[in-house]
Symmetry: C2
Subunit: 196 residues, 2 copies
DNA sequence: CGTGTGCATTCACCTATGTTAATTAAGGGA
DNA sequence: TCCCTTAATTAACATAGGTGAATGCACACG
């Protein structure tokens, strides 16, 4: 699929947009390729951009006082990612965002994001709907963390987001599930035994 | 504080608004008093309204297959609450929302929410910013659930949101923290002993 | 081709939280 | 006021997941 098609399809899911507006939107972004292991955002620095993922995978995580990483988002094609708080407030980021493989992004600066929202009503609407969706998603995630075992969450992840489960190293998956790699290994072993 | 003042102060934090627009906003809401123990939204039914809390406390929770409740949000004065997914999509709600004490709400129907966003740009902006804020909050919450013990989360809650910690029965607090009431008791006991 | 670095796995042991159940305290309605 | 229901506490025991350490594997790099 053509790169613009990915973006257009994504936007069209939320709002009606004509090709002139799509062009205006694209003009507010800059393409960037990011290599595996590179950082899109480092905690402590201000996140000047948000990114739309055209291709590849990125993970957003916090690092606790013991140096442990805790993955809060894994973004694949068609997702947006940033340290939203930092992006909006220009305060230092608390999350670090790393490319898990070579990826292609469309970057939108804070200034252009504000401009898009100010000047083009359909984009303000788009970002409102996008954010509402993400919020719904996060509320559900919290309720799942609370009501399901790690094993159930893993099974669910495999079922609901196989693209993610397959394209991400296991220790990132474990972290995303809120457990240690050893525990994920144990869970996988148990599942394999039960399946036998 | 006058009720309209609460709303105005809340909106003014995010956008500049004149009193004519404030009046238009208020005209799109209807006041409602809800008694302790009453349900604002029941899971399985469509959430036709979102509520701005003028006074009181409400909790939003899911109920799992074992009948256990899992509190995902506690809303006090100045907060908005609904089953956002249901409110936006008109699908049945997955969360149940209950008043933990007698509360006063301003209700906004889905139709009026859409009208506000369509017709008054400053309100579309307001809801975008409101939702972005909530999303930031939820991302942080997930990272805290993953990186902190229940004890630390409890201490943090007391410190950061004393109004909530004090006005809500402990078993709701426990659920909000993701633990059982017995565990919260144990944690409180330990904290009390250490303080001695 | 070796070889080193990091990932996944396994295991033995540990700890925080869950479970069950009994006891007490507190609040709401007849 | 009394009673009944629900909330909070405590304790003994169970368990999911964490911890630390050892092993094997694989792929990138010389």
């Amino acid at each position: 699929m053509d790169k613009l098609d990915i973006l257009q399809k994504h936007i069209s899911l939320k709002v009606d947009i004509d090709s002139a507006d799509l062009d205006r939107f694209v003009a507010l972004t800059t393409p960037r390729t990011i290599e595996k292991g590179e950082f899109f955002i480092r905690s402590g620095q201000v996140a000047r951009y948000q990114a739309f993922v055209l291709k590849g995978v990125l993970a957003s995580y916090s690092i606790d006082t013991k140096g442990e990483k805790h993955v809060v988002q894994i973004a694949i094609e068609g997702h947006w990612i940033s340290d939203l708080y930092s992006f909006l407030s220009k305060e230092p980021a608390v999350f670090t965002i790393e490319a898990l493989e070579k990826s292609e992004l469309l970057l939108m600066s804070n200034e252009n994001h504000e401009r898009a929202c100010d000047e083009i009503p359909v984009f303000e609407r788009f970002f409102r709907l996008l954010t509402q969706n993400a919020l719904v998603h996060h509320q559900r995630r919290i309720s799942h963390i609370y009501s399901e075992s790690a094993e159930d969450r893993y099974l669910n992840l495999i079922k609901e987001k196989p693209e993610i489960a397959q394209s991400v190293p296991q220790h990132y998956l474990a972290s995303f599930l809120g457990i240690k790699p050893q525990s994920l290994s144990r869970i996988r072993k148990k599942i394999a035994e039960n399946a036998r």
